[in-house]
Symmetry: C2
């Protein structure tokens, strides 16, 4: 959670635990900014402009900056949110009755979530650091590991796949969801299914060793 303002506003107001009680309008504005940013970045990608975010939130630029010191901070907050959603889906998958289905659904979801958010997609593609941090924070590595293990145990996932392949696949799929090149437009769901087919056991090709 990218900090908000600081601590001890008026310091020891008076009761006792009355820590960081944000002023009502401040909290309201912060929400407005997040909501506006979420939409703008999803629609226009990472180079949506701060002044536009402010306008969309019916707020002054200064306000945006008081809540998020930097454009990157704002983006990070948004990304964290998306990854949380992603992690939730992963948890669902791990608990699914059918391990293979759980994995498939997760992968489809990862593609879809990127198809719906150009900003997220761009972060995935060009900000390894941000993305990596967010993924780790959401506990995705462990979750992916669990998904893979279960799917393999069910016998439907090729044995030579490792959990590290999952984030890689998710990234790769994210790209095409945004690709609007003439003939390729709108057919990303097909690639998703092709990949899933390629993941089925036993896998006719031997995956190249790695690392």
């Amino acid at each position: 959670m990218t900090t908000v303002t600081q601590e001890n506003p008026t310091a020891a107001s008076k009761p006792a635990v009355a820590e960081r009680v944000q002023r009502a309008d401040a909290r309201r504005n912060r929400e407005a900014v997040i909501a506006a940013a979420k939409k703008l970045f999803a629609d226009e990608g990472l180079d949506a402009q701060m002044p536009d975010v402010a306008r969309a939130a019916k707020v002054g630029v200064g306000t945006v900056y008081r809540h998020f010191p930097t454009k990157d901070d704002l983006i990070a907050a948004l990304v964290a949110d998306r990854f949380e959603r992603l992690a939730q889906k992963a948890r669902d998958g791990v608990e699914a009755a059918d391990g293979w289905q759980g994995l498939c659904d997760f992968i489809r979801f990862a593609a879809q979530i990127q198809a719906d958010d150009r900003g997220l997609c761009e972060v995935m593609g060009s900000r390894p650091d941000v993305m990596d941090a967010a993924a780790r924070a959401a506990g995705l590595p462990e979750l992916c590991h669990a998904l893979v293990t279960r799917a393999q145990r069910s016998g439907q996932l090729r044995k030579d796949l490792t959990w590290e392949d999952i984030p890689m696949i998710a990234c790769g799929l994210g790209r095409i969801t945004q690709t609007e090149v003439g003939p390729a437009t709108g057919r990303w769901p097909r690639l998703v299914e092709i990949v899933l087919d390629g993941l089925r056991a036993p896998g006719s090709a031997k995956l190249p060793r790695c690392l």
Copy 2:
């Protein structure tokens, strides 16, 4: 018309029509710029800076701009070159003894060429227009069509694949070659093979209809 400066290269050198015969040093510099740009954009991606290109080419910024009025023009020239190479590979594939292998090799090549050139990769990912134009100019649509048809005739490629899926796949694969996210780093060749496996006939999943 992002055209370059072409026309009548050496054509009609001396007699009457001696149109625009470029001065020797001019031609030399142009080559230097192209070479420098090729390397810089490949290494640093699309936001390599023009002044740096100039420096790398041992030339002044002005010179770069005389040859390429715009950064975009320079990029377009570079992209055209790469697509030419790609088209060549596609032709090889069409003539390969084994249709399936021809297709596989082409796809592997497409991934590799992007792995080696960050700039190209970024164009693929964020400049549909530029890329589309270049692809069309290189005759890739037809070539992809031929590749798919031959591979299917050989019986090894799933029947529900269409040529439009090829550029899409190439784009998708391009992305991961650049992804340096912790766990996913350096394992892109694995995704390539997974996809190829997914392309094998008969394809257990039914690809979603499209358009």
